[in-house]
Amino acid sequence: MEGEEGLIDEQVTAVVVGIILIVAGVNASNFYLANRVTEPFSELGILGPGQKIGGYPTTLVAGQGFSLYGYVGNHEGAVNYYQVLVKLGNESTQVSNSTYARAAELASYGLVLVNNQSSIFPISLSLVGPGTNQRIIFELWMFNITSSQFAYTGLWNEIWVNVTAS
């Protein structure tokens, strides 16, 4: 009988101490892992006039305005100052994840986002000259605190359009 009691004592103690240790572990992980971002990233998206993916213009009239929407998301783990540069390029314009386009800048949109915040903003553009296979290139740049300059994030998008004379 005494042996059985001792066994129950140990079991109950183990269970209660185990629960306390689990609570302490969860508490410690919450404290040390809070606000830690394992894979920081930013997002750039271009939405059509209806604020949806699609419905992008393919043919434009020179001098006539048109609207798109930009989407930027911040998951870098800290507040960030972004700039979306809109450039006008053509078939031969080089742009990649490592090289930004050397092309005429049409417009720029700046915004500051806290971590895990995203924003959709209107983009109003107008192309002056007619031409075929023109590329409207959107690049995401991020302010670098150390250099006090904007740096290319490597994120870009594009829309191909033909522009007819008005």
């Binding site: 009691e5 129950i8 004592d9 109950v12 103690t13 209660v16 101490v17 306390i20 240790l21 609570v23 302490a24 508490n27 410690a28 404290f31 800290a78 507040v79 100052y81 720029s108 949109y109 700046g110 915004l111 500051v112 986002l113 806290v114 302010f143 605190i145 006090s148």
Partner: protein, 156 residues
């Protein structure tokens, strides 16, 4: 005769001074507004690194950015209007720079309180584990006996 001849010259000099004098003023205003926004962002970033809640600062900063973008578009056609917008943007960015240290101090205090709370909880949990280890059997059997005090043992 001399006065009549000088009058159009005076007007021309005044217009030239207005034209060439106002353009650099707007350019300086534009540059200083952009630079102030950059400084305001650096201050906001530092405040957040100290644990501050920078949501309000970011909102003001975005207003300043929108104003400078509006001024950049307006600069070619209406320099005076652009200068006014740059000035407002500069003022908002300065406001952010001024408020950032307070937000940073609040953040530091919150982080300190959170750390104290964590160590306090850890000590309490540790003490609870020790108390459990030494007193659980006694407390358990006391509760068990109270729950079964009406029971009778039947010999089989």
């Amino acid at each position: 005769m001399v006065v009549a001849w000088m009058r159009p010259l005076g007007v021309a000099i005044f217009l030239a001074a207005l034209l060439f004098g106002s353009a650099p003023a707007v350019a300086q205003s534009s540059g200083s507004a952009h630079a102030q926004i950059d400084q305001a962002f650096v201050a906001t970033h530092a405040a957040e690194a100290d644990g501050g809640n920078v949501t309000s600062l970011v909102s003001t900063l975005n207003q300043a950015i929108n104003l400078t973008e509006g001024a950049d578009r307006l600069n070619a056609t209406n320099p005076q209007g652009a200068a006014s917008l740059y000035s407002q943007a500069y003022s908002l960015a300065s406001d952010v720079i001024q408020k950032a240290p307070t937000v940073a101090a609040q953040g530091k205090a919150a982080v300190s309180a959170s750390t104290t709370e964590f160590y306090g909880e850890t000590v309490v949990l540790g003490a609870l584990a020790v108390v459990t280890y030494f007193f659980t059997p006694m407390v358990f059997w006391r509760i068990w006996l109270r729950a079964h005090e009406g029971w009778r043992v039947k010999k089989v």
